[in-house]
């Protein structure tokens, strides 16, 4: 049972390979740490050089050194809230349909189609929003078609695949005995779903909604193309959702190309990146809390969406 020379060579080779595998394993932690560090490195000066009161201001006008983030935050908020209000009911009901009503042949047809939706590049949806949807919205009576509502509509469809597939997983995880039990005591299928299945799948549905929000808040290109990009705080009087807005993501995308490296404007854009990073980090970490321990199938599924 002693070790031969050839085996020593093999042991060394395997030790190296297993070392590399270990390194790949922990690389995810390193990468996320590096992302945060580089955002801080470029973005921290913003929080030093621009007074907080100015960052909380109501005007984003970089040429005059006005870096009020409020309109951008409100823009992101409006678009995201709008998207969630549209996408959550649609997504939940579609998942219920796929999971509880649809015959197998429809499921086999519809699920790939939803996967296709997840695969359509956001720039293509943005393009369609720009040339087709925006004129339609304008015809509805808005002064322009490029509004928070237009962005919310597109975002809603972009977050639907996330919401649908995670909700469906949650519904699938509800044991069939629950359904049989409810049906056996005379509940209709609809009552069974509403009173038994959905409550049992509650935590999965919460995760679905949270990740849908995460998806919506981080989307860039489509939103940039259809929301009009005006850094104004929309007023209630003229219809909150039917005015142009500008989101945090779109601000970075639109302005980073034109700023001088190292300028205040440049670091403020990175600062917005920090805010986005923290928001999505909080959403995802919180959603992970909901699945016990944060490991297993659910986590893997989420990383694929």
């Amino acid at each position: 049972m002693t070790t031969s020379k050839a085996e020593n060579g093999r042991n060394l080779k395997e030790a190296i390979i297993e070392g590399l595998i270990w390194f790949s394993g922990i690389s995810a932690i390193l990468i996320i740490a590096l992302i945060f560090i580089f955002l801080l490195k470029e973005g921290a000066p913003a929080f030093v050089n621009v007074p907080i009161s100015s960052l909380l201001g109501r005007r984003w006008y970089p040429i005059e050194d006005l870096f009020g983030l409020l309109p951008l935050l409100i823009g992101s908020l409006l678009v995201t809230v709008g998207a969630v209000v549209i996408a959550v009911p649609l997504g939940l009901i579609t998942a219920v349909y796929l999971g509880e009503f649809a015959p197998t042949w429809q499921r086999e047809l519809l699920k790939p189609l939803i996967e296709v939706l997840a695969g359509i590049p956001s720039i293509v949806l943005g393009f369609l929003g720009w040339v087709v949807l925006a004129p339609l919205v304008q015809n509805m009576g808005a002064s322009t078609g490029l509004t928070a509502f237009t962005g919310a509509l597109i975002l809603a469809y972009m977050s639907l695949p996330t919401i649908i597939s995670i909700t469906e997983d949650a519904l699938y995880a509800v044991p069939n005995e629950y359904r049989d039990g409810a049906l056996a005591i005379g509940a209709t299928q609809w009552q069974t779903i509403w009173r038994v299945v959905l409550p049992a799948a509650r935590s999965g549905i919460v995760i679905a909604v949270m990740l849908g929000i995460g998806r919506a808040i981080g989307e860039t290109m489509a939103v940039m193309m259809v929301t009009g990009n005006a850094a104004n705080i929309p007023s209630w009087r003229t219809g909150l959702f039917f005015q142009p807005v500008r989101t945090m993501t779109a601000t970075i995308a639109a302005e980073m190309g034109e700023v001088a490296q190292g300028s205040v404007h440049y670091s403020v854009l990175f600062g917005i990146g920090i805010v986005l990073f923290l928001i999505t980090f909080a959403i995802n970490s919180l959603a992970t809390r909901f699945v016990s321990g944060g490991d297993g199938r659910a986590t893997r599924r989420r990383a694929q969406l």
Binding site: M1, T2, T3, A6, E7, R10
Partner: protein
């Protein structure tokens, strides 16, 4: 005759706290078929998996006591566990060919041990197939998928795959559980010949099989060795009431 395997005060606990083995002491002689029998969850399979350290795969288990193979501790730090598993080879309850051809299965262990010489591989493949009484049935289709074989053939292939490594000890964990009576008889027949050359430790399918094939037998219950001795004595004249109850079918 010195024991091939000497088990001294061996205890083993699974991560969930189940104590699978309690203070086991056994001596297993070479060139014999040693049978470990007892009701399910009595610790037989756990003991088999300790003998070639497949038990290492489970994290957070606890073990105390020793297993000596030819007088050397198999849990010593200096032991090459892969070498140990070639010396102490295992056949499982469910015949599990690896994906690939019959030939690939036979030489898998050898290739992993770094043997590349084609003549050696061919020779070992043929010899081990003959030992497992499978040669005549598959000699013309060694390159076919191993999954195409019947259940009994698969299990003999698994036996041959272990034999190709020229082990000293063969562990058989209920190797005939899924087989029909004819295939079972074929496997038992091969074992009868093999024990002249190897030390075989087997968990049998039934008390009847234990009585048919065993030279020495040990009766295990709840992780303890209740009784050990010659097959003829244990089944005809058990000393312990529990052994008697079990072999006469009163429980288990």
């Amino acid at each position: 005759m010195t024991a091939k395997i000497h088990i001294h005060d061996l205890s083993f606990t699974y991560p969930d706290g189940t104590q699978a083995l309690r203070h086991i002491n056994l001596d297993i002689q070479p060139q014999q078929l040693f049978v470990l029998f007892g009701p399910s969850r009595s610790g037989k399979s756990t003991l088999l998996r300790l003998l070639n350290r497949l038990s290492d795969l489970l994290p957070d288990t606890q073990r105390s006591g020793d297993i000596l193979l030819d007088g050397a501790d198999i849990f010593a730090r200096s032991v090459n566990v892969f070498e140990l598993r070639r010396r102490v080879s295992m056949v499982f309850a469910i015949p599990t060919p690896l994906p690939g051809s019959i030939y690939d299965n036979l030489v898998y262990g050898l290739r992993m041990a770094g043997i590349r010489d084609q003549a050696t591989l061919d020779e070992r493949a043929e010899t081990s197939l003959r030992q497992a009484a499978l040669w005549d049935e598959v000699k013309d289709r060694l390159q076919d998928s191993a999954f195409a074989l019947s259940g009994g053939q698969k299990q003999r292939l698994c036996l041959a795959r272990s034999l190709a490594l020229r082990p000293e000890i063969i562990l058989l964990d209920n190797p005939t559980s899924g087989l029909d009576p004819i295939s079972t008889a074929q496997v038992e027949q091969s074992l009868y010949k093999l024990k002249q050359q190897y030390t075989i430790i087997m968990v049998p399918h039934s008390v009847q099989q234990a009585a048919r094939v065993g030279d020495q037998v040990a009766f295990l219950l709840d992780g303890e060795v209740i009784e050990v001795g010659d097959q003829s004595r244990i089944f005809v004249n058990p000393q312990d009431q529990r052994t008697e109850d079990y072999v006469t079918g009163r429980f288990g």
